[in-house]
Symmetry: C4
Subunit: 371 residues, 4 copies
C-alpha cells in the first residue's frame, strides 16, 4: 500500500473502500450462461461463493436449510437466540418491534437472561443435518474452546470462529488463552477464522491451519466500530492485502491454499462483485439477506456487537424488505439498486469482463474513483 | 493513467468523472459568432456534434425528424416500443404515469409481451426517410445479426450497435458469436459501436471498421450499473483514454479517423462541454432531451437496461421538463442549470477559451478539482 | 501546479478551492491593535483591502458612498439599473419580490427594455463625486470602448473592466476588437481588469498596463458557470497562480507592481482571509454585502450573468440579512458564521499568525485539507 | 508532512482530520482487563488520560469533583461564570433556555456585566481543594499575569493557560507582553499551555518550561474558527506534528518529557482513541461531557470564543443528553455512537490492537481513508 505521512513521523497506509473502486471492462465479453460461480472449500462444493453471516437476523436452522437450497452456505451463531431459547420466535418478534430508543437495552437483557445451552446446540445442528445440508456454525473466540468441541461432536461440518478482530497471538494475563493452532489441529472439522484486515495478521491466522480467513470486522450496515473505537480498514484494501497474504502463505506452506472470505461492508451486489475483483474467494454477507421477507429477523438486522453488555458497537437496523431469499439470490428482479439477484449480478459482471470463473475474475482490471 | 495500489498486488487506474474536472480559460478569447460546432462522420455533415441516445423516452420517428431540424442526429431503438407496437402512444403514456413501485415490472411486461416486428422496422425507417433526414437506428449486439440487415435494406443511413459493454471479442460457447469485423465489412452502411471505456477495448472496436465508437455505459441518470454489477469507469478518464486509442489507431491504420462519441453521464451542458475537452468528437445524450416538453417520454426517462428481464440496472426517472427540443438545443434560456441552450453553452465555452472549432477545442486546458 | 493525468495524453492541473485550504498559525502571535489592513492602489489609499463587486444588488451611488465611509471601494456597474432607469427603486423592488420561477425572464426584460444612457452615467458619477469619495465604475469588455471614455470624462477615478473571462488577445472576425493595451494607455484613469484565472492569462493582462487584475469569474453564490459551460478554476489555486504572474511581471517590467484582486467565490470572512494568504492584494466581494439590511438589493443578490439574454449563468439568490454595511464591515457581531465583522476577522487572522501588514501576510503557512 | 503546491509558489502541507484516519489492528490481541489507561503528569497520577475542557458548560467546582472521582482531570475556567457570579445557577439556566437567535448577544452581556472577582477565584479553588482532588484552573493568555498568581496562591495544583492560539513569542506594541518562560519559571505550579498546531510553535511552547502543551484550537463542535478567520489544522496531523516536537525537545533538553494533550475536535470515543494513536499523551474534551445529564450546562455547550465581544467564533449548541458523567466515562452503554463509555472504548481499542499501555499505543498502525 502507498504510505502517506499523517504528520511528524506517523505514517499510514492509504486505503480504499468498495465505494472508491470499480471494475473496468476489458477487451473481451462473454455470455452469462458461460460463466461459473462455483466455489469449493475443503471437501465441500457450493454453487455460489456466498456465505451468510452468523447473525440471528438472517440465520436460523430453517433459513440455513432454505439458503443451502439456493447455493449459499449459512452459519448459525451458537451464541445467539437459537441456543439460548427453545423457542426464539417471540424473542425475534420483540427485537423487530421494539422502539429504537429501548431496543439496545432490550437486546442486552435478551442475550444475558438465558445462557447458551449445550443441548440446544446439539438440537439445532441435528435439525440442519437432518435436511442434508452442509452444517456450518459460528462461535466467538472467547467461547471457542468451550463450544466448538460440542458442535463438532454434534455433527457440524464447518466451524466459523468469528470476532470483530481475531488474532493468532491473543495475550491473556491469566494464562488461559486459546492456542488457535493447536486447537484447530485437534478439532476434526475445517475452521474458518476472522476477522482480520492486514496482510500480517492474516498470514498468522493462515498459519493456524484454518481453511479460510474472514476479512473485515464483520459488519457495515449493522455496526459502528469506527465511531466507537476508531478502528477501520476500508474493505477493498483489506481484501487485496489478505489476498496477498494468501499468496505469501501458499509459497511458504508449499501449496496450501487458504480461502479469503470478505466479511461485511457489502450492502449491494456491486460491492460483492468488487470483493471478488479485489481477490476474495468467497463473500460472507448479512444485511443483503436481512432484506428477505423470509428472514428470521422480520426486517430487523443486528449483529452480536449490538448487544455487547457495556460497549455496544452496532445497532438494530430496520431494513427495506425486497424479496424472498430465492429472489435475492437469483432473481428475477424488479429493482435496480443491487439488492436482488446477487448471483445474476455476479454472473453479469464476470460475463461483461470476459471471465468464466471466479479465480480468473480476481485479475479483472479496476479503477479508483471518488465515491 | 496514474496507477495506484489498492492493496497487496492489486493496482488500479486513478480515474476522473466530469464532476472532478473543469476547463481553464487561456490567454485568448473569441466572439461566439466566430465559433463552429460543425461535425462530419462518414458522408454526413451536421450543424452540431450532438447525437440523441436510442431510448424510447427521447427518440420516436417524429422526434428524430424534429431533432434533425435542430442539427442533432437521433437514433431510433429498433428493439423499443416503435418496432413492437403499431401504436406505442398508450404504452408511453402508461410508462410515464405508472407508480414508482410497479413501473419496472410493468416495463418488463411491455417489452416482453410484443416481439420486434420486421415490418414495423421498415415502416419506421421509411417514415424518417420520407422527411429527408439522415436516418440512424440502433440495435443491441445480441440482435445485430438479425436486425441490422433488415434496417440496412429498409434504408437506414447509420447503424448504431449499442450495449452497456460491447467488445470486439465476444466469447460464446455455442459458437454463434457475431464476428463484428466481418459483419461491418459486409454491411453497406456506416456503423457506430459501443460502449467501451478503456484504450485497449476501444482500439479493438476501431479495428472492426466502425466509423465511430461509443464511450461509456450508455447511461448516468437512468442506470445504476455501478450499484448492481460494480462496473464503472468515470467518463472524463474514459473519453481521454479512448481518444488516445483514436490516435493509436490513426497511426496503425495509416490514417483512418474513427470518431470518439461520449455516451451518457452528461446531465448538463457543462458535462457535454467537458466531454469535448477530454477528446470527444461528438456526444450522445439522453436525459438532456428527456427534459423536453415534446419528448415522447412525456417527462419520463428510461433506457433498455431498466426493463431487463431478471436484472434491471436502471429506473424510470421522472424529469423536470424545461423547454422544447428547440429551446434545449439552442435557447433562449431562462435557466442557469445547464439544461437549456446546449449548443449556446458549447459555443460560449469555445469562445471563452479562444477556440474556433471542435477539433482544436480538444486541446483546451483543464484542471482537476474535487467535485 | 501539480499535473495529473486524466487519461490518455490529457494532463490537468490539480487545483484547490478555498474550502480545501486553511491557514496554520506559526510560532508568533500579535495583538489585533498592532495590525494594519491598509491598501493602496495607484494614487489612492484605503483603510481596508475590500472592493465591492459592481452588482446592482450591492452597489448603488448611495451604497458606494456609505461603503466608502467604512473603508471599502465599491464599483458601480455602468450597465446596470442605475444607468438604464432614472429611478431604479421600483425595479429593484420587483427583482427582490418576483417568484423564483419567473425572475430570470423578468430580469432579462428589465435589462433589455431600457438601454444604458450616457446622461445617467454622468449623473451617477457626479452624485458619487459630490460625496468626496474615490469614484469607481465598471464596464463589460464588450462596451468598454463606448462607455469607459464617457465615465472618464465624467470624473470616474478608477475604471473596472469586468467580464467572466477577459483576455488581452480577444479575436474578433469583424476586425473591431478592442486593443486593451492601447485603450488603457490612452485612457487617463487607472484600470482594473479581469477575470482571469491562470498565470499566462494574467501575465498578458498585466502587460496591458492595468493597475490591477481580477482573479476568478466574478461569482460563486450567484453564478453557475461550471454547470453551464464547464469552466471553473478553484480560487485558491487561481489566486496563487496570478500572484506568481505578478512576480513574473514585476521582474519583466523592471518593477511595476500590478495588484492581484480576488473576485468572487468568497462567501465568508474565512474565505476572504484565505485569498490574502494565497497572495491577493485585495478582495472584491458581492454576496457578503448583499446580506446587508441597507443593500440596494433588499436581500436579493444577482450578477450580470443572471440576466444574459439567451444563456443565463447565474440566478437571483435570496440572502439571509445579517446586519448593516457598517456591522458587516467592522462589527460588532453576534454571529459565528463569518458573515459579520469581515475586517475584524482579517485582523484576528493576521494577529493570530503574527503578521502586521497584508503584504507580509501573503507568506503565511497554509495547509491542504479535505473540505 | 507531504508538501503540495496550491499554485504559483504557494506550498501547503497536506493535513488529515480524525475523520480521515483510522486504526488498523495488528497481529496481536489482548484482553481488555490487561490494559492500563493510567496517566501521570508532574507529581500527579490519574486513572485515565482524560482532561475536561475549562468551559462553563462542563466544569463547575462540583462537576470537577465528580469527574475526579471517575479519573478525569477537569479545569475550572477562572474567567467564566463561577468567578464572575456568586450564584451562577440562574445564569446557566438562562444560557440553556435562551433562543438560538438571541443567545449570543445574551452571553456577550452575561460575561461583560460582571467582572472576574479575586475573592471568587479563591473561594472556588478552596471548594475543590476541600474535596481532596487535584485542583486545575484555566486562564486566558491575556489575563495570565493577573489571575494565575492569585490561583497559585489560593492552592491550584495545575494551571492551564489556554487560548485558541498561544505562542511563546507574542508581539505587543505597548511593551506589556507576557514573557511565558519567565512567568512559568517563577510560578510555583506546573503549567499546561496552548493551543498550538504546528511542530515549530509547539517546540517554542515546550521551551517555556510547560509541563504539557495543548494541541488544537480548543473546539470543534462549539466553535467555527475556520469559517470566521480561515484558520484550521486538521487534528490528526496537528497531534502527530506536536508529538514530533516532543521528541525534538526531549533530545534538545536532555530528557524533559512535555506532555502532548489533544484539545478539541474529538466528538466521539473513536476520535479520542485516534488522538492517542497519533501520539497524544492525554486528551482534553468538552462536548463529550456536555452531553452528561449532570453537566452544569444542562445540555447546552459553549466555549469562551462564543461570547467574544465583537467577533464570536463559536455558538451555544444544544446537545443530546446521553447519560451521567459516570456512564459517559465508564459505561455501561446502550448507545453505539461513541458517546458513552469513553474509557471502555479506549481499553477496547488498545486490547484489539494488542497494546497494554498508552505510551506503546502511540505506535499503533493507522490507515488513511476518505472520511
Amino acid at each position: 500500500m502507498a504510505e502517506v505521512l499523517i504528520g511528524g513521523s506517523k505514517q499510514a497506509a492509504r486505503s480504499y473502500s468498495f465505494d472508491e473502486v470499480a471494475i473496468a471492462p476489458s477487451r473481451r465479453t462473454r455470455n452469462t450462461e458461460d460463466v461459473s460461480t462455483a466455489w469449493n472449500i475443503d471437501a465441500y462444493s457450493f454453487e455460489t461463493p456466498l456465505l451468510v453471516a452468523p447473525m440471528d437476523s438472517v440465520v436460523s436452522p430453517s433459513s440455513a436449510i432454505e439458503l443451502a437450497g439456493h447455493g449459499a452456505l449459512a452459519s448459525l451463531n451458537l451464541e445467539g437466540v437459537w441456543t439460548r431459547y427453545a423457542d426464539p420466535d417471540p424473542i425475534l418478534e420483540q427485537i423487530a418491534t421494539e422502539s429504537a430508543e429501548t431496543v439496545t437495552a432490550h437486546m442486552q437483557r435478551i442475550y444475558a437472561d438465558e445462557s447458551v445451552k449445550p443441548e440446544l446446540i446439539e438440537q439445532r445442528i441435528k435439525e440442519m443435518s437432518a435436511a442434508g445440508i452442509v452444517v456450518s456454525v459460528a462461535v466467538s473466540p472467547q467461547r471457542t474452546a468451550e463450544l466448538a468441541p460440542i458442535a463438532a461432536k454434534a455433527g457440524a461440518d464447518i466451524i466459523v470462529i468469528r470476532g470483530t478482530t481475531v488474532s493468532a497471538e491473543h495475550v491473556n494475563s491469566d494464562g488461559n488463552e486459546l492456542n488457535l493452532k493447536e486447537f484447530i489441529h485437534e478439532l476434526d472439522v475445517p475452521v474458518i477464522v476472522g476477522g482480520c484486515s492486514t496482510r500480517q495478521a492474516a498470514l498468522h491466522l493462515m498459519r493456524t491451519g484454518a481453511a479460510g480467513v474472514l476479512v473485515g470486522f464483520g459488519g457495515g450496515a449493522s455496526h459502528t466500530t469506527a465511531d466507537v473505537v476508531g478502528i477501520r480498514v476500508p474493505m477493498a484494501t483489506a481484501v487485496a492485502e489478505v489476498a496477498a497474504a494468501r499468496r505469501d502463505y501458499l509459497d511458504e506452506s508449499g501449496g496450501r491454499y487458504v480461502h479469503v472470505i470478505a466479511d461485511g461492508s457489502m450492502g449491494s451486489s456491486g460491492d460483492i462483485v468488487k470483493a471478488f475483483a479485489c481477490g476474495a474467494d468467497a463473500a460472507m454477507v448479512g444485511s443483503v439477506f436481512a432484506r428477505a421477507t423470509d428472514a428470521p429477523g422480520r426486517g430487523a438486522h443486528w449483529g452480536a456487537e449490538a448487544w455487547h453488555r457495556d460497549l455496544p458497537r452496532g445497532e438494530r437496523h430496520l431494513m427495506n424488505q425486497v424479496g424472498t431469499f430465492a429472489e435475492i439470490m437469483s432473481g428475477p428482479s424488479t429493482r435496480a439498486d443491487g439488492t436482488v439477484n446477487i448471483v445474476g449480478a455476479l454472473r453479469k459482471a464476470m460475463a461483461t469482463t470476459g471471465y468464466s470463473d471466479l479465480k480468473e475474475f480476481q485479475r479483472v482490471d479496476m479503477v479508483v474513483t471518488t465515491s
